[in-house]
């Protein structure tokens, strides 16, 4: 058929990672076949095994990559000396931008129910890291004790509600791509931030 091009290892690997991210996002871990990933990468299946030891290994690397990018993004925009009213919307904006620019990575990262015990274990571990990271960021906010008291778990619960809430909205967004980023950001701020701010206590403006 099409005379396939021979590529240097790094370029082919990059193509495979891109393709795999898309296929995993669309079909989930179990539903994604190595053949489908290979075909979308422009090669046959064994080539994938020249770059990754197994399907699980491939999936794990993609998950970790996305997790690192997301945590880095949160850190960058949520920390700082400005008041929280500035930092929080900016962080949400950055998050939405990431989702917009990496829709497949986001969808793959946010999917649950992989259908494979090992893949599930990796996924849960990565999500737990994200949740704890978010909890740490929240704990740093002034007035966090009104949300969490001294209870570590309360903080984790708040982080989980926010994390999964954002997750769900991101997936919804991929099904409604015409919605502009601005409205996504506004929706998050309305539901989550206003509540957080108020829960922080009476020092919050009206």
């Amino acid at each position: 058929m099409s005379p396939r091009k021979r590529l240097p290892k790094d370029e082919r690997r990059e193509l495979i990672e891109r393709a795999a991210t898309q296929v995993f996002a669309e079909h989930g871990y179990r539903g994604a076949s190595m053949d489908a990933i290979a075909e979308r990468s422009g090669v046959s299946a064994p080539v994938v095994y020249d770059h990754f030891a197994s399907k699980l290994d491939l999936h794990r690397r993609l998950l970790e990559r996305t997790r690192n990018e997301l945590l880095e993004m949160w850190r960058e925009h949520l920390f700082g000396d400005e008041p929280a009213e500035v930092r929080f919307p900016r962080a949400i904006e950055a998050w939405a931008l990431y989702v917009e620019e990496h829709p497949y990575a986001a969808k793959m990262f946010f999917r649950g129910g992989l259908g494979d015990p090992e893949a599930e274990a990796v996924h849960r571990e990565v999500q737990a890291q994200a949740r704890v990271g978010l909890g740490v960021l929240l704990a740093r906010e002034p007035g966090a004790e009104n949300i969490a008291g001294e209870d570590q778990e309360a903080l984790e619960m708040a982080a989980e509600i926010i994390r999964s809430g954002l997750t769900g909205l991101a997936v919804w967004w991929t099904d409604h791509p015409h919605v502009p980023r601005e409205q996504i950001v506004q929706a998050v701020i309305n539901v989550v931030w206003v509540g957080l701010e108020r829960a922080r206590g009476p020092q919050a403006p009206v």
Copy 2:
């Protein structure tokens, strides 16, 4: 081996539904095998096919059953003449009670990424119904226009954030079963309700 008991059709069917709910909750649609479901029901696989036409059919019926129960629950507790400050916490309490009493049903219902195109379609349809239903309930709240304006989609986004936020917390809860229901309810109210109430506008108390 173990002399299996012969049961009337209805009882066996009930056992199969229970078992299937557990297995689907634990392994996802794709990861759940009909053999595993059958074994946990106390029978061999073909018996399952005496009750359900296919794996997809079985899964669909369980999903729809849970959706009906959840929507009924929301309707029952979120409607009424009392002020929203009464109804909302009561509804969250009822939701948490449902999750506590039907942990497997809740986990199965909330799972995403089934890994099968048809199962995924069914799941998305059911989740969309739940989201729209929640949106209708939210729209009924006084001051909803501050959240959604005249935009139908804004309402849907708010509903989705809440829906998926609750979803995530429910799954988290199944991994932390020692946390009492009261704290779960409080976490939801802190993050979600306080924000909603405030977004409703200046008529909200302090």
